[in-house]
């Protein structure tokens, strides 16, 4: 467990709800849920959530910290925004799910090999390096994320699609060696670093050690 996680446990010992309100994107909305379950019923991957959004909110209120943060559930969010559109209370549920995922990742609590977490990280790494996403590299990276042998297998399975994409000029093998990127990549990296620092401060600021 990360030190930050331990620090947060100590700081918010009595209330995970308070911790979520302070540290999770749009977390102050959690208390406004009225447990109707419309979000859970509206989710395209609803059946695949061990704890649908409504239940996650209830677990947060019931102090089930670890079960929430270590959950695979919020990683099932496809960002379709159906829950937001339908929530009678106007909770930004999609954002809260993203926020919970980000927070779990920050505390190093994401289940190992969570595919969406891994893919999302690759995506982020690609864009923060180049300013733009390198679709080919992410694709290839995705094939090989579970090791070389699995990667070859995956790549063979996806070969047909890759060929079709190239034939229709929607993929370029040369992308692998460089490819699309911003001009001011260093500026973007500086910007992101600063933004990350700022955000880290928000979380650690109140724990009596900093700020």
């Amino acid at each position: 467990m990360s030190n930050l996680n331990q620090a947060m446990i100590e700081k918010y010992r009595s209330s995970f709800l308070n911790e979520v309100e302070a540290n999770v994107e749009e977390g102050h909305w959690v208390k406004m849920c009225m447990q109707c379950g419309v979000c859970s019923g509206s989710c395209p991957l609803g059946p695949h959530w061990e704890h649908p959004p409504q239940e996650l909110f209830m677990m947060i209120r019931a102090n089930e910290r670890e079960a929430v943060l270590k959950s695979d559930s919020m990683w099932m969010c496809t960002s379709c925004y159906n829950c937001i559109a339908r929530c009678p209370r106007g909770l930004p549920i999609t954002h809260i799910m993203h926020g919970l995922a980000t927070y779990a990742k920050r505390l190093n609590l994401v289940p190992k090999k969570q595919p969406t977490a891994e893919f999302g990280q690759m995506f982020w790494d690609s864009l923060s390096k180049n300013g733009r996403v390198n679709e080919l590299k992410i694709g290839v990276g995705l094939y090989f994320k579970d090791g070389f042998a699995q990667g070859v297998k995956n790549a063979m399975a996806g070969r047909e699609l890759g060929m079709a994409m190239m034939k229709t000029q929607r993929m370029n093998a040369m992308e692998y060696f460089g490819g699309h990127k911003c001009k001011d990549t260093s500026g973007i990296q500086k910007m992101l670093k600063k933004a990350q620092e700022f955000e880290d401060q928000q979380i650690t600021r109140f724990d009596g050690k900093e700020g």
């Binding site: 009225m34 209830m58 209120r61 019931a62 089930e64």
Partner: protein, 751 residues
């Protein structure tokens, strides 16, 4: 009126002229209907057509008018003539709109129209112009019983309308339950959280109003009379009495607290720190914004659990099976007290219900303040040490426990109504019968538990307003919620149904308006809902009366008393004009001026009954004017096809149907008789509460009559229908047609 002169007016508009031979209808009106004047007009409801009729009334001495045009429910403004009796033959909705426009249907369609003209002529012949009895004059004076939020509102609203009010309160102070609250749920803008109660200002306003006389420590020792001429005896605690005369009464006696000791599994009565909501209000009031101290040891509470639906919405013995409506909002308010004093508050709910315009926002305000809401069902409260609330978490589907300094049980409202007036009557009847010992014991036990009478009415049908369910007073909750089953007496607030403060204020305002209306109506001899404005009222032919008391017992409104010899004593202003007494009378001595055994009986007898071998059956449909008849009109508007054999007569209520009509119809050769009234029972829709039920009961005994006539029992059917049964009612009639033709055959009584 010197002599009767009937004018029949036949409309040719709306397609009637094309579909019907209207000159033949003129002939029918003159020949069969014995109309003195009969005219056709191409557009009868036009100014010109109306003028034609008015001219005949003014110049030709016509005092009985037959309008053969559209339904009696259409064009009522055009066809409104003063000082004449009028009947309507429904040729549009009732005939041409429910029959196909084909050559082969033409003959039977014309026969329908012919019959309706005959019926209307026969009806009007036996109608008289109703006139008010003049039994009461205008008394602009109300008695309001109960000095809580509902009673105070009622008193002030009546006073504002210029009425005098006697406000009777049993206890020594005004304010009732609302007066005991620390803070209130706002009536506007729920997001602002709780607000100061308005009750103090209301009490001041009532105290300061010259139109209002306040009687504290006072009860009503007796009430007699009728709207416009009630007399009440007021008795004070000290034993002195006084008498007041009032036009109408508002009973706003509110609710009693549910006995928390019945909930011992939830800690009720086992720990002083388990209280009901009113108990928690007392503590909050004592703390006055500071931290609430708990009763057991005076410890400042920092953690309170609110258990919703405690002993209510449950069918367990001793529990209330209904929702009291206000308790979720009240718990949210009380949880805010705790949060504002720095404590934690959890509301344990199954379904959180926050009715009213502000409810949802008030709930949000509670969430904003950090009140915790857990969807769970409390299974028990452990009072052995520190309080522990055990519950099943309904979202996480697991058993859980919450610690608490105090537990507040959201218990329900028990109506503070008087005793069920029919219990004593039932007991008396049971005592007079053989073999009813068991029932006597049961009724006596029930009566022993009954509360004291509130109004002490001297009515034939008991001392208080009747109940519907669970002790709440009865009223037609959809159409006229304030009308109890005692005209001129209006119940308001939680005695009528569970409700919160805002609703009680609204309820009291509405009831007061109805009470004022009752005074004004009584002065003019006009009926209350649903026959509002009706001037007709029942009278009886004393020489024919056998003192059987059916009318005094069956009147749904307790309008009829008995004199010392057992003859009925009518009270015009208490009567709703449903005619249930007329339907009940075995010797048929009860009638209204314009609605009687004759007005209906002559209609059905004037229908032309074809010979058995013509294979043209006749089906008599007696349809309640409140729902069944409007539904039939709408069926016409929708062009639903109805059997050409049906002849439909509207009745005021199925309760007014006298079985002689059925016997007469069968003897005249009708092949089927259908009665259509409103839904009966606990969820009744009957506009006269018991009319439909009485009719069903009476018809259940018609089988004997059918047996003596050697007729199949299927020929007489009684139905509960609703105004929405626009397809169903035509189908019922058509099914009867089919059954007669295909199964039981024609009646042998055609001569």
């Amino acid at each position: 009126m010197s002599e009767n002169k009937t004018g029949a007016y036949i409309c040719q508009g709306c397609g009637l002229g094309e579909r019907l031979d209207t000159s033949q209808l003129v002939t029918i009106a003159t020949r069969d209907g014995k109309a003195n004047v009969a005219k056709e007009h191409e557009f009868l409801c036009s100014a010109e057509g109306v003028k034609m009729i008015q001219d005949d009334i003014d110049n030709e001495g016509v005092n009985k008018v037959v309008i053969a045009a559209c339904s009696r429910r259409a064009k009522t403004d055009a066809f409104r003539f003063d000082d004449v009796a009028m009947s309507r033959a429904n040729l549009r909705e009732g005939v041409i709109w429910v029959r196909p426009d084909t050559d082969e249907a033409r003959e039977t369609t014309q026969e329908m129209a012919d019959d309706y003209v005959r019926m209307a002529c026969a009806e009007v012949k036996h109608m008289k112009l109703p006139e008010s009895s003049g039994e009461q004059s205008l008394n602009r004076h109300l008695m309001v019983v109960g000095g809580g939020i509902s009673g105070l509102t009622s008193a002030i609203e009546a006073a504002k309308a210029g009425y005098k009010v006697d406000l009777v309160e049993k206890s020594g102070e005004l304010g009732g339950q609302v007066g005991k609250l620390y803070k209130s749920v706002p009536r506007k803008n729920g997001l602002q959280g709780y607000v100061d109660s308005e009750i103090g200002e209301l009490i001041e306003a009532v105290n300061a109003n010259d139109n209002i006389t306040i009687h504290l420590n006072t009860t009503v020792a007796g009430t007699e009379g009728a709207p416009g001429r009630f007399k009440a005896e007021l008795a004070t605690e000290s034993g002195s009495t006084s008498s007041i005369e009032i036009g109408a009464i508002v009973q706003a006696t509110g609710f009693r607290r549910y006995d928390i000791n019945q909930l011992d599994n939830l800690g009720g009565g086992k720990s002083p720190d388990v209280v009901d909501q009113m108990g928690f209000e007392e503590l909050a009031k004592a703390a006055n914004g500071g931290t609430i101290k708990r009763p057991s040891d005076g410890k400042e509470v920092s953690n309170v659990v609110f258990v919703q639906c405690a002993g209510q919405r449950s069918n367990e013995p001793g529990h209330l099976n209904y929702c009291s409506g206000h308790c979720c909002t009240t718990s949210i308010k009380q949880a805010m007290y705790v949060r504002d004093a720095g404590g934690d508050a959890t509301v344990l709910f199954d379904d959180l219900r926050t009715p009213g315009a502000t409810g949802e926002d008030f709930y949000r305000a509670g969430q904003e303040k950090g009140v915790a809401f857990s969807k769970g069902k409390c299974t028990s409260v452990d009072t052995s040490g520190d309080l522990k609330v055990n519950f099943k978490d309904l979202i996480l589907d697991e058993d859980a426990t919450a610690n608490a300094d105090m537990v507040v049980l959201a218990t329900g409202m028990v109506p503070a109504s008087g005793p069920n007036p029919y219990l004593q009557l039932e007991l008396d009847e049971a005592k007079n019968q053989e073999g009813q010992e068991e029932k006597v014991v049961k009724l006596e036990a029930e009566l022993a538990k009954a509360p004291d009478s509130i109004l002490n009415l001297s009515y034939r049908q008991g001392t208080d307003v009747p109940h519907l369910k669970n002790g709440f007073t009865d009223s037609h909750f959809i159409c006229f919620p304030y009308e109890t089953r005692r005209t001129g007496i209006y119940t308001a607030g939680p005695v009528r149904r569970p409700m919160d403060t805002s609703q009680a204020i609204e309820d009291a305002t509405g009831a007061t308006m109805k009470a004022i209306q009752a005074c004004e109506n009584a002065a003019q001899g006009r009926a209350a809902h649903p026959r509002s404005g009706d001037l007709s009222f029942p009278s009886f032919r004393k020489e024919g009366c056998t003192q059987c008391k059916r009318c005094t017992v069956e009147c749904p409104f307790g309008a009829i008393d008995e004199d010392e010899k057992g003859y009925p004593q009518y009270n015009e202003a208490r009567c709703r004009r449903c005619g249930t007494c007329m339907g009940a009378c075995p010797v048929r001595v009860i009638s209204f001026e314009n609605y009687s055994v004759e007005t209906v009986g002559q209609q059905l007898k004037n229908v032309d009954i074809p010979d058995e071998f013509d294979e043209k059956p006749r089906i008599l449909v007696l349809a309640c004017e409140n729902d069944a008849y409007p539904a039939l009109d709408m069926a016409g508007m929708n062009r639903e096809e109805i059997s050409p054999w049906a002849r439909i007569i509207p009745v005021r209520c199925l309760g007014s149907v006298n079985t002689i009509w059925i016997t007469d119809a069968l003897n005249s050769g009708y092949d089927g008789v259908m009665l259509m009234g409103c839904q009966k029972g606990d969820n009744y829709q009957c506009h006269f509460v018991k009319g439909s039920e009485m009719a069903h009961y009476r018809m259940s005994k018609i089988d004997d009559t059918l047996k003596t006539l050697n007729l199949e029992k299927e020929r007489v059917q009684t139905y509960e229908v609703s105004i929405a049964d626009i397809q169903r009612i035509p189908k019922l009639i058509n099914d009867m047609d089919k059954m007669i033709v295909d199964e039981i055959g024609m009646s042998p009584f055609k001569f």
